[in-house]
Subunit: 205 residues, 2 copies
């Protein structure tokens, strides 16, 4: 089973470079140097440069489907909502902070996110992926949360789509800030805490 890991190393290095420079601005030589092989050797593993991008996107997509918090969410049967009294503002803040830490530090997720950010205006496929992963799925996830909290009479009965946007968008913006300036993570964590607390305060029934 122990297959060659060079192919995997190439994909890792490619994602890393694409996440900073973008696809076009990353050269085959750069990539080969990062892996520690000659550039011709890349063609033992991939047909051409485009094939590398396609495979990187594929793995990003697969990693997202396997590990994303946002795609499947059953708020009525989740562990942290079994005990209805557990859904306090403090607990919600802790939950979101945990998810944020994960999303910020997971190497695949963070690099994939940056790559989509860079390529979203040139590559239609990646633009669609960006809308799905970093807008639609996130919004749907938190919309489910809002519906749950409204049903449980914890929050006021306002438009759950708008509530989800108001809840998630600051976090989206702060994620982007941390991607640019990672040293501000602690500051952002504190803002997130305040944001979630205040959200529960004003929307509390």
């Amino acid at each position: 089973m122990e297959k060659s890991n060079t192919r995997k190393e190439i994909l890792e290095a490619a994602l890393e470079l694409f996440a900073v420079n973008g696809y076009e601005a990353t050269s085959i030589s750069q990539l080969a140097d990062a892996v520690g092989i000659r550039k011709a050797s890349l063609y033992s593993h991939f047909a051409n440069k485009q094939d590398i991008l396609d495979t990187v996107v594929e793995t990003v997509l697969k990693g997202y489907a396997d590990h994303s918090i946002f795609v499947r969410a059953d708020w009525d049967n989740a562990a942290y909502t079994k005990d209805k009294t557990g859904m306090t503002a403090e607990n919600a803040a802790k939950l979101v902070q945990g998810q944020l830490r994960y999303i910020l530090h997971d190497p695949h997720i963070s690099k994939g996110r940056k790559m989509l950010m860079i390529e979203q205006f040139r590559n239609a496929e990646l633009a669609e992926l960006q809308t799905k992963q970093n807008y639609r799925d996130v919004l749907n996830y938190f919309m489910g949360m809002m519906r749950f909290l409204i049903r449980e009479a914890i929050l006021k009965d306002e438009d759950p789509e708008i509530m989800a946007a108001q809840f998630s968008s600051p976090i989206t913006v702060w994620i982007n800030l941390c991607d640019r300036e990672p040293e501000r993570e602690d500051e952002v964590m504190e803002l997130v805490r305040k944001h979630v607390m205040q959200f529960f305060t004003i929307y509390r029934k």
Copy 2:
């Protein structure tokens, strides 16, 4: 006074290309083709490629300083706040929608915004600019608005920084969505209206 407009045309075309492909992935030949001259002629107007980027950034920066809504804001003496009763949710929604339309459609602002988005992980100078223009200034602007509305006893006395983040971040996210999928502008405009209305509802004193 009638100076050559070729230089200006080059800068326009460069911003347009940088806003889609980024700086590195845009070639001198591409740029020359877009302007309608030979690539060697570019060097009659600029020292080198980097000089073109520097000048583009300079003009984006200058355009921002001259026209941005967010840099100067005197909420206590603004026209639409002179009449304190004019600051209703409906009027705030209309105001924000107007600002959003402008920000979305102004050619310089929208292209500059996209360029910063693409270059934010590679170019430290542009990363800083991105944080300033599309995070700090926006947050400060709406923080001023929130402080004003609290002082006027229109909104509850909660943390104005968090209120500003909750108010502005959904709009920031929706701007990015429109940059990617301009056909969704009407949908976004309706979301903005709902968002502002709901924000005023839940924060109303």
